[in-house]
């Protein structure tokens, strides 16, 4: 304690009288602010060790506090000590009658001091309790608000898609965690399924959860690649994320026609897929959202056969403790899932197991959330029809000089899966790089806020890469065919190879223009396709 700071520290004292005073009847007592006595001052130690009335006139102590008290006209101090702790001090000036304090006065003050100290202590405790009650009330109110925000944002219903079963269950912890889940239909008929968990609790966490959900939904309107959706969400969330807060999030995109599931994970618990052969973890690497800028998210994919179930959950399940502080754990979860047929019934199966494990006195420490996706028996065949389009990747790239290179590498990595020969992949890389470079430079003028969108898809035996810029209001200039002799002779610019190279690298090139966008479609015939070369 550096100074005595008590609610009752302004105690009665009187200004000293320097001159003969008029009759006492005209004089009144004056309450002045108490002189602070720092805990480092020798007077403080004296008050604790030798409680009783201290006459400052007789005190011989090298103390700044004593000097200050004397200067303020204080004559007597009476330490108020309770259970060995200095909890207050009475500071008195001269008597109103101008007479000296008598030995009776001093005895009376000395006797009063312990009783005053005890009463003061009680008052202090009552005051602290009042403050604590107000604080608890504020927290309870915050929990109520956070709970309302959280509950309002969770889906009211699950999707209803033929041959699929979806189910979800959420049980909030008493102090409110930050779990959320969402089902978002995409414009191409696929479905985005999201589960996430915001670290921290209360209103700030609930607001971050609301922002994350909104950002994910907004990203899903333009993007259908889960890795890209998470990348975009991280870029938007990270600059404004409160300290020590982040969001784990698993994002999966399901094609109900084929059972194909693409997923990316921002540090959330890996989903589990129950197949006829057992239970496997669907792992994908990625940092939680909001921690670091410029993160990328690994994308993985899996195929759901009829009767397969994918189970997503939050850490409140596997990190639940029983009375002996043993954790529920992954092994128990995998075993429970393996023993069940999957589908909607998996939720009560796991919920009952959790309650039985945690016991009747379970103090739930964190939210528990389950999301179940099951492909039902008798669903359409897994293989897409020949003319069905399959989107392999869909993402945005910032328009910066040199920005074509990472796009080229990413598209090449994606295309590697469709069996294009190595030499043709090299040609595709050059075509993609040149087209993206044109889009970034001429379409978007290297404006960082105007990204180039890239979509890679297969359909009807051909692979297409769609590259879209935002320069639809400007015509694409068809440069003259390069003439090397003229270039060497200096009669034609050495440049102007881009469009020529693109056309030479692809099987076909189409340009789609809207008032705001140009999209260049690079077409490659796939080996074994309808019109493969």
């Amino acid at each position: 304690m550096s100074t005595i700071t008590l609610p009752f520290r302004n105690l009665l004292r009187r200004k000293p009288a320097a001159l003969p005073l008029p009759p006492a009847v005209n004089r009144t007592a004056t309450i002045l602010p108490a002189v602070e006595v720092p805990s480092t001052d020798p007077l403080y130690a004296l008050c604790v060790s030798a409680p009783g009335v201290i006459d400052l006139d007789e005190l011989r102590l090298a103390s700044d506090a004593v000097t200050g008290l004397r200067a303020a006209g204080i004559r007597l101090i009476i330490p108020l000590v309770n259970q060995g702790e200095l909890i207050g001090m009475v500071q008195l000036g001269g008597r109103m009658s101008d007479q000296e304090y008598t030995s009776d006065d001093l005895r009376l003050l000395g006797n009063l001091a312990p009783q005053a100290a005890a009463a003061l202590r009680v008052a202090q405790l009552a005051y602290q309790q009042q403050l604590e009650a107000r604080r608890r009330e504020r927290i309870e109110q915050e929990i109520r608000v956070a709970g309302i925000i959280q509950q309002t944002l969770l889906p009211k219903d699950v999707p209803h898609i033929e041959a699929w079963e979806f189910a979800a269950w959420w049980q909030p912890a008493r102090t409110v965690g930050g779990d959320f889940y969402d089902f978002v239909p995409l414009h191409d008929g696929r479905l985005m399924v999201v589960i996430g968990d915001v670290t921290d609790k209360g209103v700030p966490a609930a607001l971050v959860m609301a922002s994350t959900r909104t950002i994910l939904r907004a990203a899903a309107e333009r993007l259908i690649s889960p890795g890209e959706i998470l990348r975009r969400a991280n870029d938007v969330l990270q600059p404004d994320m409160p300290p020590k807060m982040f969001v784990t999030c698993l994002c999966a995109v399901l094609d109900p026609q084929t059972g194909h599931l693409v997923y990316a994970n921002a540090g959330h618990n890996a989903a589990l897929q129950r197949t006829r052969d057992g239970v496997k973890e669907l792992r994908a690497r990625g940092m939680p959202l909001g921690l670091m800028p410029g993160m990328s998210y690994e994308e993985k994919e899996t195929q759901l056969a009829p009767d397969d179930t994918v189970f997503m959950y939050s850490d409140g399940l596997v990190e639940a403790h029983d009375g002996a502080r043993e954790m529920f754990g992954m092994k128990r979860l995998e075993s429970l899932i393996a023993d069940h047929d999957g589908g909607e019934g998996l939720i009560p199966h796991l919920r009952d197991a959790l309650f039985a494990f945690a016991g009747a006195d379970w103090e739930q420490e964190d939210d528990v959330t389950f999301v179940v996706v099951q492909r039902q028996h008798g669903a359409p065949p897994s293989d897409p029809p020949d003319d069905a389009s399959v989107i392999l990747d869909d993402f945005e790239a910032t328009s910066v000089p040199g920005g074509e290179r990472p796009v080229m590498e990413r598209v090449a990595a994606v295309v590697n899966r469709v069996g294009l020969p190595a030499a043709r992949i090299e040609r595709l890389k050059t075509a993609v790089a040149e087209t993206v470079m044109n889009a970034m430079e001429h379409g978007n003028h290297y404006r960082a806020d105007q990204p180039v969108r890239v979509r890679v898809q297969t359909q009807g035996g051909q692979l297409s890469v769609f590259i879209t810029d935002q320069g639809g209001d400007q015509p694409i200039v068809d440069a003259p065919a390069p003439d090397l002799e003229a270039k060497l002779a200096g009669t034609q610019s050495a440049r102007g190879w881009g469009l020529f190279l693109i056309k030479a690298m692809v099987d076909d090139m189409l340009i789609h223009t809207t008032p705001t966008e140009h999209t260049v479609q690079l077409v490659f015939h796939l080996p074994g396709g309808n019109d493969a070369r």
Partner: protein, 126 residues
């Protein structure tokens, strides 16, 4: 993938024979390397060789602007009656040199040994 830093360095020491000098290229050839590429070519030309040899073995990316820069070097070499020799191209970039017809105006060899073996003796007999 971050781009590898570009460098274009004259081979030291200069070849024992004075028919040609080798410029070792590293990294990617795009619009940002124009000054470095031309500077290396200036230093090579200052030695008045019959041939200037470009080593593409460590070049992993050439875009259309890079092709234009090579066209520029070829034009300078032809103007000075020098032969431009190239080796170390990957199959894909050899493909590009054929499509752009650059291959019609320069001597292209698969490796350094073959390229050096084809250097033309200096007309002055030095």
């Amino acid at each position: 993938m971050p781009a590898k830093p570009f460098s274009a360095a004259l081979r030291e020491p200069v070849l024992p024979l004075k028919e040609g000098v080798i410029i070792d290229l590293h990294g990617e050839i795009n619009s940002t390397v124009e000054a470095a590429l031309n500077s290396a070519f200036d230093h090579a030309a200052a030695q008045n060789p019959t041939s200037i040899v470009l080593n593409f073995r460590d070049v992993d990316y050439i875009n259309s602007t890079g092709i234009a820069l090579i066209v520029g070097l070829l034009a300078r070499a032809r103007k000075a009656k020098r032969t431009l020799i190239v080796f170390g191209l990957s199959e894909h970039y050899l493909d590009l040199f054929n499509i752009t017809r650059l291959a019609d105006f320069m001597n292209i060899y698969p490796d350094e040994q073959t390229a050096v073996a084809h250097l033309v003796p200096h007309p002055t007999g030095e």
